[in-house]
Symmetry: C2
Subunit: 286 residues, 2 copies
């Protein structure tokens, strides 16, 4: 793997470039992005130069799609006829089912591997890139296409996995649908609750709320700072699972409201505390 092309040089893409460099990758890292993002990516040292998508497809051994989901879908269609037989196309989109099925339609079998790094920040763009963003975090691969790898692309998959390990990610494999259902609960639901909490407080006619709060409110509203454009694509491409996750939360909230009236919330709190402790002891916890 000598040449990597990062399509969408934002927080994730630029962090991937920086992480590769830190892990010892010495090849060229091409960037395909807006002029502003190319400039920021060059300044951060995440890419070597900016090129067109066709230029990237011509020489890249690995094409890393790190745009918002709609951008990934568009690029997959455009890339279809351009991908070299020995090139691996992968993506970092937060939902997988639609991306994987779109790739199936447009990219040669064996040349695509879906991925999702479970990492992020509320800050955006290459300016916020971090060579350690993936370190200690799960990196889900959805290897639908690579169950029967074709020709040289199977080598590329092994190479790509090995780089993911070198940048410190914990690689997991999941089915795309299973992935989407899991993240609807573990990622999309927390995001929506943070946003709904901040939206609720924003609507209150109180001069005090923004002065009288503890560190807990900052935790609970951090995700609400996430880029809305990115989330519109995530939610639009995982609506059924998100609807179900919100339904499950709604049931818990109703139980909580009932138990509040009955002064019987202790076991509810204890079960929640046990879960929170459990995910902190998980091997992938920060």
């Amino acid at each position: 793997m000598e040449t990597v092309a990062i399509i969408g040089v934002g927080l994730i893409g630029a962090s991937f470039g920086l992480a590769l460099r830190k892990a010892g990758f010495e090849g060229e890292i091409l960037g395909v992005s807006s002029p502003r993002s190319i400039e920021a990516g060059l300044k951060a040292g995440a890419i070597s130069r900016g090129v067109s998508l066709a230029g990237a497809a011509e020489s890249a051994d690995l094409i890393y799609l790190s745009q918002p989901i709609e951008g990934i879908l568009d690029t997959l269609k455009e890339l279809g006829p351009l991908v070299r037989p020995d090139c691996l196309v992968t993506d970092a989109g937060s939902t997988k089912a639609l991306i994987v099925s779109t790739a199936e339609e447009h990219i040669r079998a064996g040349n695509f591997l879906g991925g999702h790094p479970m990492a992020g920040k509320e800050r955006r763009g290459a300016e916020a890139a971090d060579c350690n963003l993936f370190r200690g975090r799960p990196y889900v691969l959805t290897p639908l296409h690579v169950l029967t790898p074709v020709g040289e692309s199977s080598t590329r998959v092994a190479e790509f996995r090995s780089w993911l390990e070198r940048i410190g990610a914990h690689v997991l494999e999941m089915d795309p649908q299973e992935h989407d259902q899991t993240v609807a609960l573990s990622s999309h639901l927390p995001q929506l609750l943070s946003t709904a909490l901040a939206a609720t407080l924003a609507k209150q006619n109180s001069e005090h709320i923004s002065k009288v709060f503890g560190p807990g409110l900052l935790d609970m509203t951090r995700l609400a700072l996430s880029a809305p454009e990115v989330w519109m694509g995530v939610l639009a491409t995982n609506k059924a699972a998100v609807r179900e996750a919100l339904g499950a939360f709604q049931m818990s909230l109703s139980e909580l409201q009932l138990r509040l009236e009955q002064d019987s919330l202790l076991e509810f709190f204890n079960a929640a505390g046990r879960f929170s402790a459990k995910i902190r002891n998980a091997p992938y916890s920060v």
Copy 2:
């Protein structure tokens, strides 16, 4: 102010003791608590020695009630006949209306001042005490009784406020009811959402959730680790305001669910993001 007594040597009480010491307080700091907490408080350097409540009332110039709310209510009743005329009793309870009215009933007017430090941690006990816990954080006083300070207690109030400033707290004054309505939204609602989120995920029959998540889930479930015993008292003494806060959240959640179906969540996300940014620029933000 030469002698301070801390009733309830847990996280808040022991942190107050450590903060006083760090700010230069050289008097005695008495502790009234369980043997285990007294031992931990002595080890942390937060108190000088353990005494009985009657012993504390005999010599303390400031009595600082930092127990769970039920403990504070019980202690106020017990303290009534014991408080010296030049002693100030204050508390660190998370709700104020019931505590202040109980104090009105049992403590001489002018000898009580309600308080609420907007600080905390998910870890408990004197072992987790931190001399900087109050630094940069709001400290609400509900000076119902001290509008007409009597005798020497007005000096004590001024002294206490001055120590709060020396330990780095931002002192604010609020009416007890106004305080309780504000924290129902800014503190109790975030706690309940964190707990309900963790309870929702705990109920899912998924081996993946506890492996596949990003740092956002850790933020959103940190409050769920808070001591349930403490929260039972908070919720029981602020039920009406908490009910209203949950109702306001429920309205936002319904709006979110509707907008999810309509793909029209952008402005909802933007409003939430603006609020989150605003509280981060607030003078009291960490």
